[in-house]
Each structure stands twice: as structure tokens, then as C-alpha cells.
Symmetry: C2
Subunit: 170 residues, 2 copies
Amino acid sequence: MTLSKQPLPSAKSAQKRQTILLSVAGHLVSQGFSNSGIRALAKSAGISDRMLLYYFETKEALLHEALSLLFNDFSSHLDTILPQARASSTEIVAALVASSTTDASRPMLALWFEIVGLAMRGDEPFKTTAAQFLDEWERWIANKLAPAQRHRAGELLAQVEGSVMVTLLR
Amino acid sequence: MTLSKQPLPSAKSAQKRQTILLSVAGHLVSQGFSNSGIRALAKSAGISDRMLLYYFETKEALLHEALSLLFNDFSSHLDTILPQARASSTEIVAALVASSTTDASRPMLALWFEIVGLAMRGDEPFKTTAAQFLDEWERWIANKLAPAQRHRAGELLAQVEGSVMVTLLR
DNA sequence: CTCGAAATGTAGCGACCGCTACACAAACAA
DNA sequence: TTGTTTGTGTAGCGGTCGCTACATTTCGAG
């Protein structure tokens, strides 16, 4: 009774999975969710939708992995925007708001607020992803702050979210 | 060549339109956009989807009107939460954040952030609605503030948006 | 070489989507 | 009454959605 059902993480296919995830993540950032059916995702990854669901059992699982990958890299992206080790709350907010309208950041942040919208009714995998990403973001802010200021990270996170959101909507 | 094509605002039908709009607005608030195809909207309004598109030419037009109606009433709703004529910035943020988890406000605010997400890629009617609603909200904040403080309304709006968003996501 | 597992193509299912063609009824104007 | 406008039901079109059944090829271990 081997009971196997998984598509096998055979080291060869593990790498293929990773390639696909990168492509899907890129597609999501540039296109958002509105044109991201499995057929469109597969096409931009250069495979068939059939194979997409061979490597990832369901679309939900695929999105969950792709978004996780995306947000694991997000701290690095933030560090590009504000490289110095320590910053004041004013600097943090200013740097993020200023970056939010650049070509490099805008699509990623737009995707973030799309996820927020989808998470609002509790749908998976968006609810989980949103919570994880919020934590990631808050941790990054806390680490930029002087230790004595770290208790303000949550408050500052809210200020950043609101400022960026309003900026992107105008 | 009468060239008429519109469904006619015949005073009788104008009232029916209004009834439908109220029902659709209520459905959107309680259900969000994920289960709001024209068939579901029509069913909860007690009519057929056929008639929904008789009174409103397209789904986009229907949503635009329903959301406008919803947000025209939003100032009144905000006044329920914070009735006094003047308030400090601290009071404004505190009142809105506190209300955001109540049964009366939560679904409406969730709908708002769903709209924000949809507006992020520039899709209509969400982009327009979001901009209008943001203005409405900022105006309400400005009017609560003492005249000398009104220049801070934009900044305060961002703080409110961020705080409410983070609160709803946890 | 043989054989089973992994990988892939083709085709389509059933559900939903916004929307419309068509026939018909009810209301009203002349 | 007659004819036009306004309202409504039925039925379905062409499309997309996530997903799957089935057959076939590719490939690596023995």
C-alpha cells in the first residue's frame, strides 16, 4: 500500500515547479488577478494548463505557493528602497510612499491591495497570505526602527498601508 | 425617427429602479462581489436577471448606481458612529477603528476594501467609485476637525484607512 | 531490452458568466 | 377599438472557469 498520489518531488520536477512558480508570480505582479485563469497562467509559463495542475494539484495551492514565494522576497525588495540599517518613522513612511509610484514597486503593491480585497471575505488562500504578508511587513519595519521605538511598529504599519493605498488610488 | 432605446424613466419604473438598487446594495454589503453575478443579484431582489438588465442596461451601470447610492449614505453612517460636531484627530481614528469590527460596519468596510482591490488595476466602475468614496470620506473628516486642523484631513484619512484595514485583516 | 513510472497532449465536462432574441401580455393613447 | 409603448417569461448563445478522463509518449532502473 504505497498510497502515493502526489506528483512526486523528484528533484528534477522540483526545479520545474520552481521555474513555474517564478513565472506565475511574475504574471500575477504584472497582470493582477483579473486575467489570471489557469489557462493564462500556463500560457505565460510556456506550458499547458493540464501540466500546471499536474505539478500543483489545485489552483488554490498554486497561488498559495506563488504568493508565498513572492512575499518571501519582499523584504529584500523593501531593503532596496530603504537600504540603511536604521531609519526614523518619518523616513520609513516617506521612502515607501515615494517608491509606491515607481514602475518597480507599483504593480507589486497593487497586487498586495488586490489580495487584501480578496481576503476581506475570508477566502483562501488570500486570507492566510495577507496575514503572513502583514507580519512580514511589520517585522521589517520593526527591524529598521531603533530598539526603543519598536513598539510603534504596528502603528507605523497602519500608517504606511493607508498612505500607500491612498497614493495608489489617486 | 424617435430613436428611443432607453428603458424610460417613467416615474413608475423610476421607483422600481430605486427598490432594486436598495436590494442590490444590500446584497453587495452582505455578500461582497464574489457571489454577485446578475442571477444572484436578481434573485435577492425578487426578480429575474432578465428584468435586472431591462432596468439597468449593463451590469457595470447597475453596480455603478448601486455603489453610488451606498456611498451617498455613508456620511450618515459615519455620523452615527461619531455624532458630535467636532472631534480631535485621535478621537476620529479611535471611533472609526472601534466601529470597524461591529456587525453594522464591518461588512460595509469589507466591501470598501474589495472595491479598492478591484480599483487597483483601473477597472470601471470601481476606479471611479473608489475615487468618489475617498473624497467623500476625506470631506467628512475635514468637517469634523476644527477649521485650523482641516489641512491635516488627507493625512488623517490615510491613517484611518490603514488602521481599519489592518484591524479587519486580523 | 523490458517494464513500470513519470510526463504530456487532446478533448471535454459541468458550472457559471453577462447578455440577448423572441414571443407574448398588460397598460395606455388615439 | 386599434395600435404603440412598456413590462415580463422562456430559453439559449457564446464565452470562461477549474478540473479531469483517457490515451500516449518519454525515460530511467533492472
